[in-house]
């Protein structure tokens, strides 16, 4: 089966081509079958390989040829099939399949149906290249590819320039990160003489820790990760990216693309392990992003914005985990988050669908009666993300807390505070949407309906995963045996040999669990009393709110800040260069030199008319003619 791995990215690529080229000819049914079928086919192969790996098959590199070789810079077209890449493939194609299926219902009335699915398949192809490629160039091919698909899908409804602005912003901010990624790859090539993982990692494993060059490489790569995975300072594109269709937010901006930064770090784990300074930076950036995302999410009233900032925050959790060297923990949270956040986004989509496009949670309320399946599955997602046992988020979040606690008590405290804020904003949203009385218009009320089964089946499947997904990596404390960590061990082996980590005592772990659960329950109570007992609805005007509230609801004024320090200066510089330098300095110098020559020559009366160009031209033409004749005869 491993030898057939090249089919995995090929299926969605073919699906893309069929739907892109045949979008006028194919019926919606056919488009759906091609789009969903291609992803499902990839999933089946990936699952087969996964079973082989579990059965003890060794990791393998499939070499499909050489792309180019320029002066020792050689790029192979090869796929790396190992536990990490197969795991990512399962997430991408598995969750991807259900999101494709859900989209069939969600997009059924859209004119751009085939266009939508062609973009989605192209995305899956790119994402698969990102995780399956066996060198940094193929990773970059996928990395840029997913960014471009994200651009297409955020701006899917292109008639509205607000969507296009969001799409452009996402692309440009990602490209800022890519400057880091690219220069990191340059430095990898210069340092190791190769960009193939096998060579780079084996050479790196023989290096001592703390080399400046490795620190630089990893910092540069991490800059790339902050763009793609929406971390400080490059996270502001992700909330805007909610302009795209909601299933896109679930697939790209929650479950898969935004986790590419985590994947990249785990893939390059040996490099990062050898760069303690970078690891420290990642940890702090992760904690800060987790806290900031949660802080902003508390006051958002757009259901998708709440989830978007939640994603920013949850990605911060993952970076904290890899930052303290707990790579498998980071992957664990990546998986559980993919389950419950995809679920929450799709649930939100179902709500938005039922509410005729309404996204403001202040105009919702009491939807549990009309949307029973959405309600119950959303509840599963809520319990998973706030991390109540035995839902999936509990296990992964708790493992992060335990690892951070070993690293620094202060950071662990900040993480607990973040957990509590998360619980609060999630319950706030949940109560405002599904409980209380309906606050929308009469028209919206009359249209309320549960989504069709093509949309609810994915919700149910993801709900099951969100509930039970945590059991893939139950710690010894809870009588498990870290199955995921053992599965990933071959990929992390070089790092594990260097990072000596002492498992916290069982008593400590129980204590941390208790604190996290207690904090979550307190926040549940607070949200319950505020939004259910007192039926509080956030005010339309924020004027009477406190400074802290406005700081949160205005997203920390970070967009305004970036406008001030980057966008406006760039516009200003561009205008000055154009109006002053180009037109009035460089061009004028050229023109005056020209005029000087013309004037000088007319004074000298060597050229009676002053038409220098004419004379020069005649001269050249004359010489040409003479030489030509000379040659001909």
């Amino acid at each position: 089966m491993i030898n057939a791995a090249w089919l995995i990215p090929l299926f969605p690529l073919v699906g893309f081509l069929i739907n892109a080229l045949g979008k006028k000819l194919l019926s919606k049914t056919l488009v759906s079958i091609v789009a969903c079928g291609s992803v499902l086919a990839s999933f089946v192969i990936a699952a087969g390989i996964f079973v082989e790996l579990l059965g003890g098959a060794a990791a393998q590199t499939l070499n499909l040829g050489e792309l180019l070789n320029a002066g020792g810079f050689s790029v192979s077209l090869s796929l790396l099939i190992d536990p990490l890449s197969v795991l990512m493939t399962l997430i991408i194609t598995g969750i991807g399949f259900f999101i494709h299926m859900y989209s069939v219902g969600y997009m059924s009335h859209d004119d751009g149906f085939a266009r939508y699915f062609s973009y989605l398949n192209l995305f899956v192809f790119s994402m698969l290249m990102l995780v399956l490629g066996a060198n940094y160039i193929l990773m970059f091919v996928g990395w840029e590819g997913v960014g471009f698909c994200s651009y297409l899908l955020i701006g899917f409804w292109y008639a509205d320039n607000a969507n296009n602005d969001a799409a452009k912003k996402a692309f440009v901010m990602n490209r800022i990160g890519d400057v880091g990624f690219l220069t990191g790859v340059f430095l990898i090539f210069i340092t190791f003489g190769s960009i193939e993982y096998a060579q780079v990692f084996s050479s790196a494993a023989a290096m001592p820790a703390g080399l400046t060059v490795v620190t630089t490489i990893t910092l540069l790569l991490f800059i790339g990760a902050t763009g793609k995975s929406a971390q400080i300072p490059l996270f502001t594109w992700l909330p805007d990216a909610m302009a795209g269709p909601t299933p896109v937010s679930a697939l790209i901006h929650a479950a898969t693309m935004v986790t590419a930064g985590i994947y990249m770090i785990v893939r390059s784990n040996i490099l990062f392990t050898l760069a303690p300074i970078t690891m420290e930076v990642i940890t702090y950036v992760g904690v800060a992003t987790a806290l900031l995302g949660a802080f902003i999410a508390i006051t958002q009233n757009d259901i998708k914005k709440v989830l978007a900032y939640s994603t920013v925050s949850q990605l911060g959790y993952m970076f904290v985990a890899v930052g303290v060297g707990a790579y498998s923990t980071g992957m664990f949270h990546l998986i559980t988050h993919a389950f419950f956040k995809a679920l929450l986004f799709l649930g939100a989509g179902s709500v938005i669908h039922a509410m005729s496009g309404e996204q403001d949670i202040r105009r919702m309320g009491g939807l549990k009666k009309d949307l029973p399946v959405t309600y119950l599955t959303f509840l599963a997602g809520v319990l998973a993300i706030v991390g109540l046992p035995p839902f999936s988020g509990f296990f992964s979040k708790d493992e992060i807390l335990a690892k951070v606690f070993e690293h620094s008590t202060l950071l662990a405290v900040v993480m607990v505070i973040t957990f509590m804020m998360t619980a609060f904003y999630i319950f706030r949203m949940f109560f405002l949407v599904f409980f209380g009385s309906f606050r929308g218009s009469e028209n919206q009320k009359s249209h309320l309906h549960e989504s069709p089964s093509v949309m609810t089946i994915p919700l149910i499947v993801l709900a099951v995963l969100a509930v039970a997904g945590g059991f893939i990596n139950v710690p010894e404390t809870l009588f498990g045996h870290h199955a995921l960590a053992n599965y990933l061990e071959p990929v992390l082996r070089p790092s594990l040999a260097i990072i000596f980590s002492e498992e916290p005592s069982h008593a400590t772990e129980y204590m941390l669990m208790a604190v996290a659960i207690a904090g979550t329950l307190v926040m549940l109570a607070v949200a319950y009393s505020r939004y259910l007992t007192k039926s509080h609805v956030p005010a339309a005007s924020e004027n009477e709110q406190s400074f802290l509230y406005r700081l949160s609801s205005r997203k920390g004024y970070i967009d305004e800040f970036y406008d001030m320090i980057i966008r406006k200066p760039l516009d200003w510089i561009s205008s000055v260069l154009n109006d002053v330098f180009d037109k009035n300095i460089f061009d004028r110098i050229v023109n005056s030199v020209g005029e000087l020559v013309v004037e000088g020559s007319s004074v000298a009366r060597l050229l009676q008319t002053g038409k220098l160009g004419f004379y020069l031209f005649i001269m050249v033409a004359g010489i040409t003619a003479i030489l030509f004749l000379n040659f001909m005869f």
Binding site: N69, A70, G145, A159, F186, L187, D582, G613, L616
Partner: protein, 485 residues
Amino acid sequence: MITIALLGLPALAALFLLISRSAMAKQIALVATIAELVIAVVAAVQFAQNSSVQFLAEYGWIPSLGIDFKVGMDGISLLLVLLTAFLMPFIVYVSFKKKYDNQAAFYALLLLAQTGLIGVFTSLNGFLFYFFWEVVLIPVYFLAILWGGERRVAVTFKFFIYTVLGSFFMLLGFIYLYLQTPGGSFDITALQSLQLSRETQGWIFWAFFIAFAIKMPIFPFHTWQPDTYAESPVSVTMLLSALMVKMAVYGAFRWLLPVTPLAVEDWGNVVIILSVTGIIYASCIAIVQKNLRRLVAYASIAHVGLMAAGTFAFNSQGLQGAMFQMLSHGIGAVALFYVIELIYEKTGTMEIASLGGIMSKAPRLATIFLIFILSTVAMPLTNGFWGEFLLLLGVYKYSAVLGTISTLTIVLGAVYMLRMYQASVLGKASAATQNFEDITFQETLILSVLVVVIFWMGVQPGIFIDVAKPAIETMLSTATQTVLN
């Protein structure tokens, strides 16, 4: 013989048009350029992949002055000849709908320019190279001044004077080199085997560099370019941006780097700093351009700046990147100007602010336009990616600081290109685009040829890299030997 055929065919076709004044001028021109492409492909098939000069043809011309008519192709020449032959049919066809006066002359001049270009890319004699270099200019001058836009006279005049001034320095350089050769020769092997002092090389370097810098153009010698691109007939804009720019980069490859390696070592940093400054400078200016052609003109200055930087970084990745990017940029320039022309045909404007909403009216054109833009912003799997990647790596190897600054081009490029795409294609339809009709099947087919090549080169870059690799590596190792001695 094949080189002579490549040179002769367009010239003969041009001569025929001028004499016959045929009413079928444009069709004849198109057939001639396609026939030329067939010959070029035959040459490519017969080409043996090594560093030697093949398809050599040599005749005495002015023996007393050491001027021979000596032409031939190594991998570098072959790729540029192929590029010229591949793009010329588009350059001819794009003007088919224009109601030009004196069509026979118009197409004859285009064909003459093609002969000139092939001559530049195949000359193995310094004087012959200079001769063809100027020959190209003559038809282009007439084309621009007779069939250009409103401000054509002033603009073309400036362009002409500027480039002729530049080539004058090159001529001086060649004459000086000629005088140094034992017995007096312009032959490439004689010039390349000269043992010049470091100081002399410096003078020669700058004499050639000025000619190339104006032609490319490298900042701050670029001010003729945006006006000329905006005012010229579309075929000429394409000729200039897609092919004539490459004459300068090629000139550096063939006549500058191998002849003055010591000067490259001494002065390369100045050139690279100028080039990198130009990348950022032109990218910033592109952001605020209001006219489609002018925007692409500044984008082009930025791209050429990177090519120059990679060339003068003088390492394997830089040179091979420049080689590959010459092809990508040529194709991209024709592609973008073609689309702009189609938009202009349908709306009568190139002002970005007057456009918008084309996507909803003409999805085919909008999609193809986006693919061309992807190539320009170096998206992987398009040809633009590999050239830019290798160039940036080459510059980064030369200097991490300059390499990092150059890499900002991927951000700025995205800013100006996506801004242009959004304002002109996305959003709601404007007054000008209200009745915009999508491109015809035939037009789609023509542009699809470019699309296919963009992806082909993006997916199998090795095929193209390998053609010029032996020649570039040989040049590099010879020059490195000289520097080490």
